[in-house]
Symmetry: C2
Subunit: 242 residues, 2 copies
């Protein structure tokens, strides 16, 4: 631990979302402490001279090996008593050079495509796992607050900028996957025909030659998301009068 690199007052915590074709999950790290499992969001202190966004990217990269992920700050958490559980205090004392320092943490949301990456064994994570966002799980520190706020902010963000949802899907995906994702985010179910109708009039969804294989039903067509077309066509400037 080379604490002299770090600014002991500021940290980042990442809420990393993934979609497994059924539901939305977040990435948690697990550590053993006094024989019990303790779960937490991945995060780290910000280094001296390091930008906040850079610190969050660094945490993501160390954990997933991926770069250029969707990443957005959503809130700063600075309550003076955000670390109050004795178990957490004990943990902090074991890893920080200045455990008594008040730390402000900046919450970041990130979206990853679940297919095709492996967790990287990391300095700060004994074990890494996907956990369903809808399933309650006690987390360390104020991480429940951070995760809940992040999930709320992500949904708000997607309302305004639905494009980012494609960061959760593989490069090629079926309309059923897209609809399931949408339903998982929104929390309601949609009519299949109306959904397809609305989707297919968007030029940014381009049908690929390829179809599903190995499924015991009519194989679905794959689509991909064309970001350039989206940006051209989709000048969302909708305003809602109460």
């Amino acid at each position: 631990m080379e604490d002299f690199h770090y600014n002991p007052h500021i940290s980042v915590d990442c809420v990393i979302f993934g979609f497994d074709d059924q539901k939305i999950n977040i990435l948690l790290i697990k550590r053993k402490q006094s024989g019990k499992n303790v779960f937490a969001l991945p995060g780290d202190l910000v280094q001296k001279g390091e930008d906040l966004d850079h610190a969050a990217s660094r945490v993501l990269f160390e954990l997933t090996g991926l770069q250029n992920l969707y990443l957005e700050q959503f809130k700063a958490f600075g309550s003076p008593d955000r670390i109050k559980d004795p178990v957490d205090i004990e943990w902090i004392k074991s890893i920080r050079e200045h455990p008594e320092e008040r730390v402000i943490t900046i919450g970041y949301n990130s979206l990853v495509k679940v297919d095709g990456f492996e967790f990287t064994p990391s300095s700060f994570a004994e074990e890494v796992l996907w956990h369903p966002i809808e399933k309650p799980q006690k987390l360390a520190f104020d991480h429940n607050d951070i995760a809940n706020t992040g999930w709320f902010m992500l949904r708000e963000k997607i309302k305004r900028e639905p494009m980012i949802a494609f960061s959760l899907l593989p490069e090629k995906f079926t309309l059923r996957q897209l609809q399931t994702l949408y339903e998982a985010i929104v929390g309601i179910s949609l009519d299949k025909r109306n959904f397809r109708k609305r989707m297919l009039r968007n030029n940014f969804l381009v049908a690929m030659e390829e179809r599903e294989t190995g499924v015991s039903h009519k194989p679905a067509q794959y689509f991909r998301f064309d970001e350039d077309t989206y940006r051209e066509d989709f000048a969302r400037d909708q305003w809602f009068l109460f």
Copy 2:
């Protein structure tokens, strides 16, 4: 200056919006430095043991004498070089005990009703003024970035929760004021009849007995905003599929 009260690593900066029946303004403070006027957002270091939201409320209260204003954090600004202008560095040196410390600042948006309050002479403001948000004005530090981001975030927020816009209007207001406010936020102009039609089917707008007086045209009816009715009726859960 009793710096020992303060946490020298964290500050808050407030983007305070007001509506003057024509346009949206933000509150700036002005100081004289080397014979030049320097403009900045109001802000302060966070005190030791003080919550971030509390620090922002404190800045607002010292400036306006008002409490329980609409207040929302919108972003943390933590670039290592956010203070780089020599004029700003000189200023920091003159007021901070640890001028070399890196400071993370948390940006807050606030909405005030312009009618019926006076600026309070404050420890940190030689002069306080309303400045049109649309009119460019160079600000100290990274305050242009903070103000622009705050304005953008406010507009995004109002799209999702238009209710908060009423924090900018007086208790009683005319539909014309409401429409002008809406147009100032959205940046487009609306058809008067359609606007009134949509507004008047909302139960949360309640017509008062009172009408305008002293105007040289047909006096307009006053309305007020009923927050309880709004919360009951207006379960906004609109989702937009691309």
